[in-house]
């Protein structure tokens, strides 16, 4: 702006000095847009006439002195103020310059000194405004930080703290300066802070964790990222960002607990558990699996089983089937196979496995092995027993059926087939109670029982003997039903000498049939 158009407000209580100054300014090409001798009026005038600059005497008539008025004008209207004063004492200078004023000119002054002071004052004010805006920008940035930010001296006294830090400690930001950081820490935390300060003294930034207690008593885990502050190579304190890591610590604790829980399950599971990569390289197994396969510990198992698919399975084909199913379907459920133990022993296992991504996104195989050798032995023994039973039953003259708990016929002999006038294989398609009288009792399992039954289609009445039948595990899986002709029973009861007596046999059958139909 050219000097001619620069508008000035003159504030001077000595009217003679004011008159002389105004005339000098006009002669120098400035525009004097207002003049007054009082501080109060100066503030009002400045607001009304909006000058480019205020020239202000320090000593003024009225309640407000020049410094107070200048401060108010600078603060409220952001106008540059140059002091004109005859007071050259250091105190006065310090008092005036402490108020962010644009300039200071000692009386008496020459025209060129006056012009220089005005020009320099405007320049300084512009710089100051830039600085103020810049500071405001950075302050806004600091205040809007999600993380806490604070400065502290070596004794722990807080110098500056942003809003996030204040919220963490439960106090308004303006009340934090002067408070001691140790007020918010327990004795252990105080010691940790002091140790941290001592380490910062060496000049290197460092991080340390603390637990702070807010004024409301809330405990928060925080991570301090602190760097040292030096003044003239003298360590004066620290500045730090403070991240609230309470949730992270809580999650970590929960994860640790969960891991411990799952590790306990893993190590004490009754089934063998393993982890391997997609190529079958085993890198983890639980103690149960190690024991099952004859290794002294999981470490030995992992070291000796580099390839699950080719080295575990006794039958190469089984290993290949397992691999193919797993890679194709993503899982294998209860595949039974023979596997090698450490010393080459073979044992039967039930194998289940699935593909899953690990924490790095790599696919891995998680699987379980259940030792079913005993079950397989029992099944084989049962199978042999069953075979023997089948042969025995077939050889019996009386109709015999082996039925399961729901009445399905598992085994029927030739005699039963003949009694029912039905092919032996067809018999198995029926349920026992469908072939006999409706009120046949399937319940008796605890021992031999007898009941009278009627075989459909043959008009024959039989006396049935039911005996529980145990499976390979020893549990009751059904009953053996032996049917004896009622004729034979009557014959026996009547004391007749021979069951081959057709007449008597037929007679008995008739009697029973008559009884049933009546």
């Amino acid at each position: 702006m050219k000097r001619r158009s620069l508008r000035l407000l003159v504030v001077e209580d000595e009217r003679i000095t004011r008159l002389e100054l105004v005339r000098r300014l006009i002669n120098l090409g400035y525009v004097v847009c207002g003049q007054t001798g009082s501080g109060e009026e100066a503030i009002l005038l400045a607001a009304q006439v909006a000058p480019d600059m205020v020239l202000m005497d320090v000593t003024l008539e009225g309640e407000l002195d020049g410094i107070f008025a200048a401060e108010a004008i600078h603060r409220e209207l952001q106008l540059p103020v140059v002091f004109l004063t005859a007071d050259d004492s250091p105190d006065a200078l310090e008092r005036a310059m402490g108020k962010s004023i644009a300039g200071y000119l000692l009386k008496p002054y020459t025209d060129s000194e006056l012009c220089s002071a005005i020009t320099l004052g405007r320049h300084l004010h512009a710089l100051g405004s830039q600085l103020t805006h810049s500071e405001a920008r950075y302050r806004k940035l600091v205040e809007s930080l999600g993380e806490g930010l604070f400065t502290m001296d070596v004794s722990g006294n807080i110098g500056f703290a942003n809003r996030s830090m204040a919220a963490l400690l439960g106090l308004p930001a303006e009340r934090l300066p002067g408070r001691n950081m140790e007020d918010f820490l327990d004795p252990l935390g105080c010691q940790a802070l002091r140790d941290g300060v001592e380490q910062l003294r060496q000049g290197q930034p460092r991080q340390f964790e603390l637990v702070v207690r807010s004024t409301t008593g809330e405990l928060r885990d925080v991570l301090l990222s602190a760097s040292p502050r030096f003044a003239s190579n003298w360590f004066v304190g620290l500045q730090a960002t403070v991240a609230d890591v309470t949730e992270r610590k809580r999650t970590e604790r929960a994860l640790r607990e969960a891991e411990e829980r799952y590790r306990h399950i893993f190590e004490h599971a009754l089934v063998g558990i393993f982890h391997s990569n997609i190529h079958g390289r085993v890198y983890g197994a639980n103690p149960t699996l190690a024991t099952m396969l004859g290794y002294k510990d999981p470490g030995e198992l992992v070291a000796n089983l580099p390839d699950l698919f080719t080295m575990l399975f006794a039958e190469t084909e089984a290993g290949e089937t397992f691999r193919r199913r797993l890679l194709h379907f993503g899982r294998v459920d209860g595949m039974e196979a023979e596997v090698y133990g450490r010393d080459g022993d073979v044992l039967w296992v039930s194998l289940s496995a699935c593909l899953a991504a690990d924490s790095h996104g790599e696919m891995q195989i998680n699987g379980t092995l259940l030792d079913i050798s005993q079950r397989r032995e029992a099944e084989q023994a049962f199978s042999a027993s069953f075979e023997l039973l089948s042969r025995t039953v077939d050889a019996m003259a009386d109709p015999v059926a082996l039925i399961d708990l729901e009445g399905h016929i598992i085994l029927a002999n030739e005699a039963l087939s003949m009694a029912l006038c039905m092919d032996k294989d067809k018999v198995k398609a029926y349920r026992y109670q469908d072939l006999l009288s409706l009120d046949v009792d399937l319940a008796p399992m605890q021992g031999k029982t007898c009941q009278e039954v009627w075989v459909r289609g043959s008009n024959s009445v039989y006396l049935e003997t039911a005996t529980p039948f145990n499976g390979p595990g020893g549990q009751v899986i059904g009953t053996v039903r032996v049917l004896r002709s009622k004729d034979d029973v009557i014959y026996q009861l009547s004391g007749a000498a021979s069951p081959e007596s057709d007449t008597l046999h037929q007679l008995a059958r008739r009697i029973v049939c008559t009884n049933i139909s009546s």
Partner: protein, 130 residues
């Protein structure tokens, strides 16, 4: 020892005690009306300030003494009377130090310079256009 050192009173003695008309004219060339206005104000304001200073001294109100001396210093500077400004400054400093004895010691010099300056101003006002 620095033999060039001079006491304030010695410096004061070398300064002109009355308004420097030439200097005043050179500041506002071609504006005799302004010069008259300044002298007029000087004749009214300076004695009033001086009277108030003396009243305050009698009442031992040294802060007012300092303030009035400060005002006279400024007025003296405005009318180009450096001896008057220097004497007023000596009184102002003594009053600010709450040294009444020193104020009393410097006061006659202030009064003398003021009288001389007022006399010169009156002559300039009454005489032909300076």
């Amino acid at each position: 020892m620095n033999t060039d050192y001079k006491q304030p009173s010695e410096i004061l003695a070398t300064l002109p005690s009355t308004p420097d008309v030439v200097a005043l004219r050179s500041r506002f060339p071609g504006d005799p009306q302004l010069l008259n206005q300044l002298l007029e104000m000087f004749l009214e304001d300076a004695p009033a300030r001086c009277q108030r200073l003396q009243d305050a001294l009698r009442a031992q109100q040294l802060d007012i003494v300092a303030r009035m001396a400060h005002a006279i210093k400024g007025i003296g500077s405005t009318v180009e009377a450096p001896a008057l400004s220097a004497a007023a400054k000596a009184v102002e400093l003594a009053a600010k130090c709450r040294d009444e004895t020193e104020v009393v010691r410097h006061l006659p010099q202030l009064l003398g310079n003021l009288d001389a300056a007022l006399e010169q101003a009156r002559r300039l006002m009454e005489g032909p256009t300076p």
